[in-house]
């Protein structure tokens, strides 16, 4: 029998029937673990499920299974991918969601944009109060993950910021950097340091890493002065005089006759290479950056030291915070109680702390854990300095950091102001008053625009 549309069509038809039958008869979806966790950082993934290398201790998820009988799957999802997928899931009120998600601080604001009753994450106040963790976790670290007093995420970290520096190079230049308690003193010391090395033919030696095209390093300085571009109540703080002065000071650090900074490329292990080669000798360093430096610049062991950040004036904090992660439970999670138990185990338990120490130097936000002997040791990489204790000391002074949906836009504006202010400094070297006036004008215009944007995206409770 011949098929009147021809053999190729017949073959395609048969193939489509076979494929359809195959799809219809395929074995059911592989058994899903009892709890599915999305993480975006490799170090977190390793902490929870190990790095595949044989160890004497079972992994955290295995220990959790033995205790509760619940199987946990850790899925690594890149930050941007997680954003797109979670936004889509939350917007469509999807039922098939991960049971626990880790979110990065720069991503979280959009999830907190709806009225609190329609946020895709479950409020955790009850869980935290009931379990007693509410009082044990550093209160300042709840701020980024909260809206109107409702907490949607458990903080993973504190991320206090310090300065780490090449002690050998500063010693050679005869400069005692930790003695510099204020930023102006620090800048003067850095200029002296650069002059010392330039006189010896080292032309490209910069004192400190400060980004001249993004607000990444300006934000910690602002936080030190207890200012966020937009605070937790939605107030725009960028027109405050302290804010303007800080921006002007920063611009004079990255350009002009008092330039003490250069930026280090994120790629190609740029940070570590700059440290090793002595191109940049001081780095603004939260705890998560320590592992990176140690891993990529092991040869600097013993030559590095850590110090608190200098301040601008009394009342400022000697530290700031940079980065952050939370763990939350999507509202459509099928077993929130089990998900909460998992969060408690991963973030707050002794086992969780041990696993965290195995893979990173990240300080936990649980204040009682800071007394653990593991944080009292000296670090040979920093010449025996008790760096964990310094981080703990800084964590006690931690200023609150807020993120709102408009914060990312505000940071974009600040990046532009830094570039413009740096150009201004190059064109009018030494004219500090004019720079401050110009920065004030720019920031006032930005505040106006930010207000318009916040109003446009606002949803009343």
């Amino acid at each position: 029998m011949s098929f009147h549309l021809g053999k190729p069509i017949l073959v395609m038809l048969i193939l489509s029937v076979v494929c359809a039958a195959g799809l219809a008869l395929r074995p059911g979806k592989r058994d899903r673990a009892d709890l599915l966790v999305w993480v975006f950082a490799e170090v977190h993934q390793k902490t929870y499920q190990g790095d595949g290398k044989p160890t004497t201790q079972p992994t955290l998820v295995e220990q959790f299974r033995r205790r509760t009988g619940k199987r946990v799957a850790i899925e690594m999802v890149a930050t941007r991918s997680e954003d797109v997928r979670l936004v889509s899931m939350f917007m469509s009120d999807a039922r098939d969601v991960p049971d626990v998600v880790e979110l990065e601080i720069s991503s979280v604001a959009k999830y907190l944009r709806p009225p609190t009753s329609d946020i895709g994450l479950l409020p955790l106040n009850d869980f935290l109060t009931r379990s007693g963790w509410m009082d044990k976790v550093l209160a300042a670290r709840f701020a980024p993950w909260s809206k109107n007093g409702v907490i949607f995420g458990v903080p993973h970290d504190v991320h206090p910021v310090t300065l780490v520096y090449r002690e050998d190079l500063f010693r050679e230049a005869g400069i005692d950097l930790p003695a510099m308690k204020t930023w102006p003193e620090f800048r003067a010391a850095c200029l002296k340091f650069q002059d010392f090395w330039r006189a010896r033919g080292v032309k490209n030696r910069h004192a400190i890493e400060l980004m001249n095209s993004s607000a990444d390093h300006l934000i910690p300085m602002l936080l030190q002065r207890h200012m966020n571009p937009i605070d937790g109540g939605g107030t725009i703080e960028i027109t405050k005089e302290k804010f303007v002065e800080t921006v002007a000071f920063f611009a004079e650090c990255v350009a002009g006759p008092t330039q003490i900074a250069s930026q280090s490329p994120a790629a190609a292990g740029g940070l570590a290479r700059d440290l090793i080669e002595g191109n940049i000798c001081v780095f603004v360093t939260p705890d998560w950056r320590i592992d990176y430096i140690k891993e990529y610049a092991p040869g600097l062991a013993g030559k590095m030291r850590m110090m608190p950040m200098p301040i601008f004036e009394p009342g400022d904090s000697r530290t700031a915070t940079w980065g952050g992660t939370m763990m939350g439970i999507p509202r459509n999670c099928k077993d929130p109680e089990a998900a909460w138990k998992l969060i408690e185990f991963l973030y707050f338990s002794k086992e969780g702390l041990d696993a965290r120490r195995q893979y990173s130097a990240i300080l936990p936000p649980v204040i009682t854990q800071w007394n653990d002997p593991v944080y009292q040791r000296g670090d040979p990489y920093f010449g025996g300095q008790q760096t964990d204790l310094l981080f703990i000391e800084m964590a006690k002074e931690l200023p609150a950091r807020y993120v709102t949906p408009a914060t990312a836009i505000a940071n974009g504006y600040l990046s532009k102001v830094i570039v413009d202010a740096a150009t201004f400094v190059e064109r009018h070297p030494g004219d500090h008053a004019a720079l401050v006036a110009q920065c004030r004008e720019w920031l006032t215009g930005i505040a106006r625009d930010l207000r318009r944007r916040i109003e446009h995206g606002k949803f009343d409770e």
Binding site: H4, L5, I9, S16, R80, D83, V84, V87, F90, M91, S92, D93, K110, Y111, R113, P114, P115, D118, I119, G120, K203, N204, M211, N212, S213, S214, A215, D216, S262, Q263, S264, P265, A266, A267, A268, G270, R273, D274, N279, P405, A408, I409, N411, G412, S415, K416, V419, D420, D449, H456, G457, F459
Partner: protein
């Protein structure tokens, strides 16, 4: 009687099958096309009239998003960046691709196939990979390009390629060209091989020099391909996203220094996935559709006018 009845049924079935089979074959495509193209397109129009915050939180804003965006200078920075990029990119990509194609179409060039593959290869690796490579190449002090420049002048070692608004724009164009010149070259090569050899012989007999032959024989012969490359390249350029996104994300902000890397699609992405308003993102999407449609229509009209003039 039974035989006749059976034959009648069989031929009826055959006739029915012949009548409906084409629809059956087209049905899967139509279903998928409607489900994944037509419906989302129509839905996105209606969504662009709403502001969304959560699954149960939306507000009808009518043309509010469109009005807001038309007054938002960030959108116009994105439009300006995108259009300037498209013009510079197309202005360089077409001549470079054509030049390479002419060179590699010359039988006197040895290892032509190897060179053809080498120039085409970057296109195979894709935007993200090229972005990562360029971040490494341009990395301040450590990248190959600053190091090479620093060899001539040590100060150039310190040039911030990705931190300076002008340099950053140059970097995006160069990375795009590296990615796509080989792709255009392949099309031009195919077009060049389709030009009738006899026309060259006739032109040579008429005393035409190399430039005249190129202008009066080669160019008209490859014009349809050139039109295709210009239109498709422009549409692609107006949709620029991954390249600046990946390059600048590693440098602090996806939009780059002073929004040098902010394109219309990145603005759309920010509205939808950074600020979390899918309705606003839909409105930007339709703005982009209109822009691309307008540009493509102008290009096609210009090309058609050119053809009519010639004929």
């Amino acid at each position: 009687m039974t035989n006749e009845g059976g034959r009648g049924l069989s031929s009826k079935l055959w006739a029915m099958q012949a009548k409906y089979a084409p629809y059956l074959f087209v049905a899967p495509f139509l279903l998928l096309f409607c489900a994944f193209m037509v419906y989302p397109l129509l839905r996105s129009i209606s969504m662009s009239f709403y502001s969304y915050a959560g699954p149960h939180t939306s507000r009808f804003v009518g043309l509010g998003h469109y009005r807001y965006f038309l007054g938002d200078f960030l959108l116009w920075i994105a439009v300006a960046n995108t259009i300037v990029y498209a013009i510079v990119y197309m202005g360089l990509q077409i001549p470079l691709s054509l030049g390479l194609a002419l060179l590699l179409n010359n039988p006197r060039v040895r290892f032509r196939n190897l060179f053809r593959f080498a120039f085409f290869a970057p296109y195979l690796v894709g935007n993200v990979f090229v972005s990562v490579i360029f971040v490494l190449l341009l990395s301040q002090r450590h990248g190959l390009i600053p190091k090479a420049l620093g060899f001539f002048n040590p100060a150039w070692l310190e040039v911030s390629w990705l931190g300076d608004p002008i340099n950053a724009r140059i970097a995006i164009v160069v990375a795009s060209l590296w990615l796509s010149v080989g792709w255009g070259m392949v099309f031009f090569l195919a077009a060049l091989q389709g030009v009738d050899r006899e026309l060259y012989d006739a032109a040579a007999v008429d005393g035409a020099g190399p430039w005249s032959r190129f202008r009066h024989v080669t160019l008209p012969g490859i014009k349809p391909v050139m039109t295709f490359l210009v239109v498709s390249g422009t549409i692609g350029a107006l949709q620029l996203f991954e390249l600046p996104y990946v390059i600048f994300l590693q440098h602090g902000s996806a939009a780059g220094p002073k929004w040098a890397g902010l394109t219309i699609v990145m603005y759309l992405y920010q509205q939808g996935f950074d600020l979390g308003d899918i309705g606003a993102a839909c409105a930007v999407g339709w703005f982009l559709v209109l822009l691309i449609l307008g540009v493509a229509l102008v290009q096609i009209r210009i090309s058609r006018a050119g053809r009519e003039e010639e004929s």
